[in-house]
Amino acid sequence: MLLTSIVFLPLAGALLVLLAGGRGDRPDREGVVRVVALAVSLVVFVATLYLWWAFNPVDPEFQLVERHAWLPQFGITYHLGVDGVSLFLIVLTGFLTPLALLSSWQSIHKNVKQFSFFMLALETAMLGVFVSLDLFLFYVFWDAMLIPMYFLIGIWGYERRIYAAVKFILYTMAGSVLMLIAIIGLAWAHSTATGQGPSFDLLDLYGLHLSWGMEMWFFLAFTVAFAIKVPLFPFHTWLPDAHVEAPTAGSVILAGVLLKMGTYGLLRFSFPLFPSAAHYFAPYLAVLAIIGIVYGALVAMVQPDMKKLVAYSSVSHLGFVVLGLCALNVNGVQGAVYQMLNHGVSTGGLFMIVGMLSDRRHTRLIAEFGGLKAVVPRLVAAFLLITLSSIALPGMNGFIGEFLILLGAFRAHPRMTAVAATGVILSAVYMLWMFQRVNYGTVTNEKNRGLRDLTGREWAMMAPTIAMCIFMGVAPNVFLRPMEASVVRVIDRINGVTTFAKSRTSNLDPRAPTLQPPTSGTGVPR
């Protein structure tokens, strides 16, 4: 019941918010609504911490499993469970939601009730994605999540919000509906293979034998859906629009949690469900990831808008995560999962900082700022720490993740990794250059003179974020240890065919220009 409670607690809170807000538009209830929403999200965070405490770090299997029949006619179950990979993403979701609510304290004054409702509903959907062990259930949460995000961008966003919201929802849907077809096909393949009827249960499907053609198409359908979410180059074009136009809270959640769903999906579904295809396509994905790393960094460098710069930096950083996953070894995958958490914390922090500056000046253009260090020293100090975390300074969280990723990726694809490593340098270039233009030098714009420094509320947002950045940098084992067993288990699932895949790749050149079925043709023994 613990997982069910965690998942649906925010939704219950969302309904509570509607009650607390009263009928119609009641600006006088704004404070009550904010406090209720924040309290609910904090309770959820505490619950996720309890989940961490209840989690057994040496058990590689899914824990705290709940399983009930849902649509028994089709083998669809309400199946929840958590392992070392999803555990911290759940905690991250719990961590970022209250911060996101806090970040909107000053900037959102329009329809606070509905805003809080959608934020909490979104949290339920996000948590649901991470704990679902049934593909149908997973898809329900995956798709349901689009609706609150769509409203958050469309109602409370900036100028081009409607365009961004519609683009976000259509782009993501176009990818995920193809995944739906693949999910259905997979369930019927289970029926054909076992004669026990269809099943959408992930654990049933993990060991399924598929023909090479089916495996390839299903893998591609899943992977495109996740690649759009990540976003992997060249599916990234929705991201700058959505990030820039979303309100701060939306950007924090979008960058902090939503993007991780793509990489989580690759690791949880695409790779282990279709191991042969994963081995075959991993190098291609790695190439796309590296293009994303370099391209994202170069484009970020020339952005005049801070928010857009951070958005493109996400493309670059998520490229590292995908690269780590494509290494298909423990170091790479563990680094990738760790980097997901790091990116959530540090990019979430960056969006909060940009939000604070834009709350004060109502602009996000770098050229409008300059010399802030003299005006708002505390804010700039926080800004600096988050920036350093984002560019992976040793001692900060980003370093651990990127180091592990490069370590793992080097073993798998040494030459490509050399190119990827330039991304580390480039990220320092664009982040520090932006930091320098905004904060150093003399105050060139008179409007920047009287800016307020961090308020108590903003301290409450920045302090935990910075603390996490440093803590994750100096004590990575607190996080790496519990995820290790599960990561090894996932790698085993993917490499369960290693011997077979090796014997196959020996007679099938992975760089062959056309896709060929494996010599056995029909099935892949695992």
């Binding site: 119609g24 538009d25 029949a69 849902w70 649509l71 028994p72 006619q73 089709f74 149908f136 898809y139 329900v140 949460f141 798709d143 349901a144 689009l146 609706i147 769509y150 409203f151 469309g154 109602i155 919000r161 409607i162 919201a165 519609v166 929802i169 259509l170 849907m173 176009a174 509906v177 193809l178 739906l180 077809i181 259905i184 096909g185 369930a187 019927w188 269809p198």
Partner: protein, 475 residues
């Protein structure tokens, strides 16, 4: 008495229709009378009777069969009818529609629909088709002063008459082959027809008749005009009721009678279904009138339903029934809201009329959003389960391409559903028209439809069970 058992629900509705007509006749001019009440009583009676007849498999006169399949359709039709009646009481006075005629015709149409789903004889199907079509033609043109309404009714009538003729030709040829119009005899005779050309011709002509009624491409031309010109409440009624009845008969004829000829009709209908899904979704994007937009949406939905028929497996058969129910509650809810906000002077059917609805009517905007999201197939609503079920059936039989066209066209259709949402939530209303109040019963009906949308979306297992049970009876 047993001879009548299968027709009891139909007879109850006919009686209530006659009562509505009489009430109009004895009403003093200017006296307000709750004529919708007769309809409500009759439809509730029919609903209860249908539940009692469940599993009884009653047959009347050898041509009307109250098997679980037709009873399921009956129940869907009763829900459609009851919701329509509740909305109508609010609407028709404002819309200046003559009450007695309106209610009587609507109820007669429902009786025809019920008969159509229950008929096991081609001639009775034709009879039922005509009963419901004539009633709906008149309903479309019921506002005599409206030029648009007259045009719509005329177009609908002319094209409908053509398609009826096609259908009748199909029956005639089937009769030539088999010497009977009973479905079971037609089925066996057609399968072993000496001249396959003649059999194909019969199947083709019957398919044209059905495709016209369900507004499948390329027989969809009348749909946007008829839906736009008719009073909105009639649009709501016919976009759901006619579709449910026609798909009921369509499924019965093609999936049981003509099942042996699957190899011949599946490829043709596949092309029709693909075209229907694409045209409905893509052309819908260009519309600025909500009624036209939802007309194209209903065309797209006809395509998804056709996909269920093409899948022609047990999952597909049950999926059609489930989808009809899911589509009915959502579409009736959406068009019901459009109807409830309209008046004779100001129909409230342009996209921009919805601007800022969220500010003035948050509850209505919220309900409208739920219905639109369900039509667009978002979880956790009925529309998602319905679409998933249809696509699951199609994929099971290897129709991957049709399923892919289906999901992609549904993404396109999401675009125009979202246009309405954008209007309601993200656009400030410049010149808000005075929107009429919505009465408590109508709000309750909308609330019921919303509950149904979520119930079917979150806990669909039981209804899917009923759908599976009912489909087994026709095979």
């Amino acid at each position: 008495m047993n001879a009548f058992a299968a027709t009891i629900p139909i007879l109850i509705v006919v009686l209530s229709a006659i009562a509505a007509m009489l009430a109009e006749a004895i009403r003093h001019p200017g006296e307000r009378m709750y004529i919708a009440g007769f309809g409500l009583i009759g439809l509730t009676g029919a609903l209860v009777a249908s539940c009692f007849l469940w599993d009884a498999d009653a047959t009347s006169f050898g041509v009307v069969r109250a098997d679980n399949f037709s009873l399921f359709v009956n129940i869907v039709l009763c829900i459609i009818g009851i919701l329509t009646m509740v909305f109508s009481h609010d609407v028709i006075e404002r819309e200046e529609i003559p009450a007695g005629e309106y209610y009587a015709l609507t109820l007669f149409a429902i009786s025809g629909m019920m008969l159509m789903a229950a008929a096991t004889d081609l001639l009775v199907i034709f009879l039922a088709l005509e009963v419901l079509s004539l009633a709906v033609y008149v309903l479309t043109g019921l506002r005599r002063g409206s030029g648009l309404g007259a045009e719509a009714a005329f177009k609908y009538f002319l094209l409908g008459a053509f398609s009826s003729a096609f259908f009748l030709y199909g029956i005639a040829i089937a009769f030539t082959i088999s010497g009977s119009t009973r479905l079971d005899q037609v089925g066996t005779a057609m399968a072993s027809a000496p001249s396959p050309t003649l059999a194909w011709l019969a199947v083709g002509l019957l398919a044209v008749g059905f495709c016209f009624k369900v507004s499948a491409v390329p027989f969809h031309m009348w749909t946007p005009d008829a839906y736009e010109g008719a009073p909105t409440i009639v649009t709501a009624f016919m976009s759901t009721g006619v579709k449910a009845a026609a798909f009921g008969a369509f499924a019965r004829v093609f999936l049981s009678t003509l099942e042996p000829m699957q190899g011949q009709w599946v490829p043709v209908l596949s092309a029709v279904a693909a075209a229907t899904m694409i045209v409905g979704a893509v052309v819908g994007v260009l519309q600025n009138n909500i009624k036209r937009m939802l007309a194209y949406s209903s065309i797209a939905h006809a395509g998804y339903l056709l996909l269920g028929i093409i899948a022609a497996n047990n999952a597909g058969k049950a999926a059609v029934l489930f989808y009809l129910l899911a589509y009915a509650v959502a579409n009736l809810g959406a068009l019901g809201i459009v109807a409830l906000l309209g008046t004779a002077e100001h129909p409230h059917d342009q996209l921009r009329d919805f601007a800022g609805l969220w500010r003035t009517r948050p509850a209505l905007a919220g309900l409208m959003t739920v219905f639109l999201l369900s039509l667009g197939g978002f979880p956790p609503t009925a529309g998602f389960i319905g679409k998933w079920y249809i696509f699951a059936a199609a994929v099971q039989n290897g129709h991957y391409w049709l399923a892919i066209i289906g999901v992609l066209s549904s993404v396109v259709s999401v675009f125009f559903y979202l246009r309405i949402v954008v209007m309601m939530y993200m656009t400030e209303d410049a010149s808000a028209p005075a929107r009429p109040r919505v009465s408590a019963p109508s709000m309750a009906a909308l609330g019921f439809a919303t509950l149904a949308v979520f119930y079917l979306g979150v806990l669909p297992a039981r209804v899917i069970d009923y759908a599976l049970q009912s489909i087994q009876t026709i095979f």
